[in-house]
Amino acid sequence: MSNTKDFIVEQIKQQITDFQTTFKKQTVGRVLKVTDGIALVSGLSDAMMSEILEFQADGQTVTGVALNLEENTIGVIILGDYTIIKEGQEVKTTGRILEVPVGPEIIGRVLDALGKPVDGQGALQTKQYYPIEKIAPGVITRQSVNQPVQTGIKAIDSMIPVGRGQRELIIGDRQIGKTAIAIDTIINQKGQNMKCIYVAIGQKESKIANITAKLTAAGAMDYTTIVLAGASDPASMLYLAPYAGCAMAEYFLDQGEDVLIIYDDLSKHANSYREISLLLRRAPGREAYPGDVFYLHSRLLERACKLNAEYGGGSITALPIIETQAGDVSAYIPTNVISITDGQIYLEPDLFYQGQRPAVNAGLSVSRVGSDAQIKAMKKVAGKLRLEAAQFRELAAFAQFGSDLDVDTRRKLERGKRLFEIFKQDQYNPIAVDKQVIIFFALINGLLDNIPVDKVGQFETGLYQNYEASGDKVKQAINKISVLDATAEKAITNLINDYKTGLDYLLEDKAED
């Protein structure tokens, strides 16, 4: 006989001899009522808030979470198949608060809202669990934002910079590139010492499969976890998913690491919470959302933080996404989340359909703390961009009426056109910060003025290739000396002028004057 077989028999024998019979007291309640994903349970006098409860249904165990503790009954959200739960069945308390598995093992996986793998790559071997609800770090432990998150998107890194530990809202209508910004940001975190968690709330599973494939292809799954509560999952899962994702992020935070977490999107999260609340018979308020819908999001986003060195120095950067209806940012949930976050990236349909992609509206988008975190070189070149963009928009509207413009106005218009041409960027093609510095430097110093507007994109690509090939000298000038000093500026100017000499589409210098 093989040793293996003996070993198995021995193991089972061991388990049987070690088995302790128990005689323990348990609190048991009974199901009074079951509705869509919600059960009303009597008894269970010692149940805790958000404690895991077990339904004994037809030999199967279904878990639920206590959400409403009332005088005689408990409102429970059911996590799993609620169709097999029947009136009168037994419900047991477990003494455990809802928790999710955390650890380095979750990287590269697709998990559901309870931390169970859904990617078919086997069970998770994590050793630790974190509660999904946790009070946010207090003021003593925090520090102001001082390191940048490079999104790789020129319009954002220059004008609406995001810092590590910041909460920056991405807001816009459907189908306008909100997720694209988030995914590009994840892709650009390669080698930036950042863990990423993408929480999909009520998204189509096909979309998630797409995103996973794209991230894998870009090598981004090496540092990314996807938490998925799909469109077909019950509202309870959608409600829990962002908190579960945040708990996973907090594990890395406690290790002193930087984490980027994306909640895609919180409108659906609010909708699922509204569904749960109405079924639990909590009083509806504005737009039928319950009274604590603000707290729902504020307690989640407050968990994003930058800890000071004494507490490990880690950070959680949150990029919540909100979908507006027909550009209405004054609806209930958008205004709530705008007021909670440290700024927003507003995506505009008009820009999107004009071909300005990503359709970032430079006027309505702000970042309240991010500019402290920008690297010096970028700060130097990007300082004037907001003004330049704002002036251009104003002039462009005005210039539509008259053709007879003075030289200064014409110059501003021409430069603005080139600026917005630079802001255009393909999806899945984030651009490193040093390259961004070069192109913005070229723009503000008038080096692009003799490039035709429709050739700016081509010029940019060529310039980057030339820069890649140019060797370390220029690269060091920009990367090492983060303050863009005279040497670096000269190196960039030379690089651009060198590249220009080989081009055949340049406008004649000062042709317009």
Binding site: I12, Q15, I16, F19, T21, T22, F23, K24, K25, Q26, T27, V28, G29, G43, L44, S45, E71, N72
Partner: protein, 133 residues
């Protein structure tokens, strides 16, 4: 103002607890009139159940269920009663005994919303769980 079933039961208990036997029928009659006036007569069944619980608790009584495979002897029941007394503050325990061959052995005690599960069946199920996982 709406009153809960528990409030009614507690009020009834407190109104009657120290009264003489003779006064009680009048009090109960008044209570029923109050229920009619408040349009809450439909709650009477629930009120009776909760009133019984309150009364039992106040008098150190407990009605408990005992489920075994075979009927237990008086000696065993005495031991079980002594054990349950240690778990609660109740002095008089009113047993409702029943037998259930599917539990295979051991015993199952139920009182209020507590269950003390010492059956062979549940222990075997637990062992099975442990061996499978």
């Amino acid at each position: 103002m709406k009153h809960s079933v528990k409030q009614y039961a507690l009020a009834l208990y407190e109104a009657t607890v120290d009264k003489k036997q003779k006064a009680i029928p009048d009090l109960v009659k008044n209570f029923l009139n109050l229920l009619i006036k408040n349009n809450d007569l439909a709650k009477i069944n629930e009120i009776i159940i909760i009133f019984t619980n309150i009364w039992q608790e106040a008098n150190g009584q407990l009605s408990a269920q005992l489920i075994t495979k075979q009927p237990v002897t008086a000696e065993v029941l005495k031991n079980i009663t002594a054990y349950v007394k240690t778990q609660t503050d109740c002095q008089n325990i009113d047993w409702q005994q029943s037998t259930d061959p599917t539990i295979l052995g051991g015993l199952l005690i139920k009182y209020r919303d507590q269950v003390i599960d010492g059956t062979i069946k549940s222990n075997l199920l637990r062992l099975k769980d442990k061996l499978v996982n």
